[in-house]
């Protein structure tokens, strides 16, 4: 097609006019969509323009999931929380390789294509950073995203680590393996071999697509129910050994000083926790029926019950759990409540299949000391509903 100079000028004017009008008035859909032909099909979908859900970066090394904007249990992959220690590497999948060596019969290298040839499994699991409480700040005007944004749930697809360990002839005498990333931190963690034979995956898929760069593209270790740091992303090396390696991440970091004067190390398990995602700051509530809802999760299997209190924790009643309740995955709970307009504090409390009950703040402090705000801090939390309907975090003094 021949494009004349006049066409180009007209086009430019049109763009300029559109730009001006878009800037002058907020974009709104046509009043009657039945009278205007809609947009054509397109190669890549986008969210509705009115939807503004975003991660919330905290510094350059982490960002949280906007739980207040989500429904159900699956976290959209582009809203999955981030935590990294040396930035997000840009890895060419064609040159990617995973080395497995140490106490094995056959040290081997697997390409990404190799990993995808093995029999695969898909499993829905949460992933939570063990520091998912310490960054909330002092304000009561915080969203669920700020209170507990460092947990997300995805369907992960990959090869069971046990399959790869059989392929290389893992020694029965190996008790630990080192998992090491290809990021600028070359992040490394020691993991017990028993986890490999239980449910560990080398994952390359997330919610039906390739894992996002922030989640470890093209392949990561995934340890269901364990603290996120140990599920090493951008995985390039596994070394089998008969003792842990005592890396920086598992000694000077990701260890838990205890009230008895010890420090817990290799504290992988994420204990049960719950979070009311509605109503929560910045919602303003109106009198009448409210469906309180949120998510609960545990690294110890399935959530069996979530209790909700509307009187600050004096009395509790069981919420409805959305089926199917999956092990080591976010579980949506819902609780009907007729709000009369009085000031109220609403709380949730998770119980898992081992009988573990999410602890109060005081119980956490009794076990862990008052400085237990670093890792593995999972107290019952709640939201204060003021008579005017505004909702804020029901902060409890941490002492």
């Amino acid at each position: 097609m021949k494009v004349s100079r006049r066409d180009l000028l007209a086009g430019a004017a049109g763009i300029a006019a559109f730009g001006t009008s878009a800037a002058a008035q907020s974009p709104s859909p046509p009043l009657d969509t039945t009278k205007v032909r809609g947009k054509p099909s397109r190669a890549l979908g986008q969210r509705a323009t009115a939807e503004k859900a975003q991660r919330q970066p905290r510094g350059v090394n982490s960002s949280g999931t906007p739980h207040q904007d989500l429904y159900g249990t699956i976290t959209p992959a582009d809203l999955h929380f981030e935590r990294h220690h040396g930035g997000v590497p840009d890895i060419d999948p064609r040159s990617y390789s995973l080395l497995i060596h140490g106490m094995v019969e056959r040290p081997m290298v697997f390409s990404l294509a190799d990993l995808k040839r093995f029999p695969a499994v898909s499993r829905v699991h949460f992933l939570e950073c063990s520091g998912n409480f310490g960054g909330r700040g002092a304000s009561v005007e915080i969203t669920p995203q700020q209170l507990a944004g460092l947990t997300s749930t995805s369907e992960w697809t990959g090869v069971p680590l046990a399959t790869l360990f059989r392929e290389v002839g893992a020694s029965p005498k190996a008790t630990w393996f080192l998992a090491e990333g290809q990021d600028a931190a070359v992040l490394a963690r020691s993991v017990p071999m028993s986890k490999a034979y239980d449910d560990a995956l080398i994952a390359y898929g997330q919610n039906g697509e390739a894992i996002r760069p922030e989640q470890g593209y093209p392949a990561r270790l995934f340890l269901p129910g364990w603290e996120g740091n140990a599920s090493v992303k951008w995985l390039r090396r596994l070394e089998l050994s008969d003792r842990p390696f005592m890396t920086r991440e598992e000694t000077s970091k990701y260890t838990d000083p205890m009230a008895d004067g010890t420090a817990r190390m290799f504290s992988f398990l994420m204990d049960a926790r719950s979070l009311i995602t509605y109503p929560a700051y910045p919602v303003t509530l109106t009198k009448g029926w409210v469906e309180i809802n949120g998510i609960a999760w545990t690294g110890s299997g399935k959530i069996t019950r979530v209790d909700v209190s509307t009187d600050g924790g004096t009395t509790w009643a069981a919420a409805k759990l959305q089926e199917p309740v999956l092990p080591k995955a976010h579980t949506r709970f819902r609780f009907l409540w007729d709000w009369k307009g009085n000031e109220a504090v609403i709380k949730s409390r998770a119980v898992d299949e081992t009988g573990y009950v999410q602890p109060t703040k005081d119980a956490v402090i009794a076990l862990r000391g008052i400085s237990a705000v670093g890792y593995h801090t999972n107290p019952i939390t709640g939201w204060r509903i003021r008579p005017d309907g505004t909702v804020v975090y029901a902060a409890e003094p941490w002492s």
């Binding site: 059989r166 070394e239 005592m246 890396t247 004067g261 817990r264 190390m265």
Partner: protein
């Protein structure tokens, strides 16, 4: 279908089912390739608490002080105590371990880190952030020597090498205990 056809169909069905049932996972799939010793050596950078993996070389605090000033002090402070990033230097009176009750006390190498070998491993793999993994082994040994001396964990003239580093006694070491929660199930 005649009875003979039915018998044939049944026989085929049995064969098919038997054929599928025979497809158990093999002992190995034959996927992937052997790793060469050179490939392993290029990536195998970890240092264990027993000193396994420490390379040849050595360094002293005097050498380390110069490197520290040039490459580390801007983030960790002039003496390792000032920050703004992680405070690396400092001992507590009587080597106390108050961390559960006092979140403000920094977890330094001298007050919290349980293994000296970790200092070498971490600096070599991840520091400094503007050029990670670029320090020579002797430079890493010298930085480790400097940090150990600053933390009064080694005499000022100590030479730190693969033999000396695992022998450094760390004050906090005995406070660390394995987590007893939710031990994973045995292999299946």
């Amino acid at each position: 279908m005649t009875p003979r056809h039915l018998v044939c169909a049944a026989a085929i069905a049995v064969t098919l089912v038997a054929g599928l049932a025979a497809q158990k996972p093999p002992a190995t799939f034959g996927i992937g390739r052997a790793a060469t010793p050179a490939e392993i050596a290029a990536w195998d950078i970890d240092v264990g608490p027993d000193g396994a993996g420490l390379p040849p070389g050595k360094g002293t605090a005097a050498e380390g002080a110069t490197i520290y000033a040039a490459r580390c002090a801007s983030c960790h402070g002039k003496t390792g105590k000032e920050g703004p990033n992680d405070v690396l230097v400092g001992r507590l009176p009587g080597d106390a371990f108050p961390f559960a009750q006092d979140a403000r006390t920094p977890k330094t190498i001298g007050s919290y880190w349980p293994y000296a070998t970790t200092v070498f491993d971490y600096i070599r793999r991840a520091m400094p952030p503007d050029a990670p993994g670029t320090l020579k082994d002797n430079e890493v040994y010298a930085l480790v020597a400097f940090l150990l001396v600053q933390n009064e964990l080694a005499p000022a003239d100590a030479v730190i090498d693969a033999a000396a580093l695992p022998k450094v006694k760390m004050p906090a070491r005995d406070h660390f205990v394995p987590d007893k929660r939710g031990a994973p199930k045995k292999g299946k």
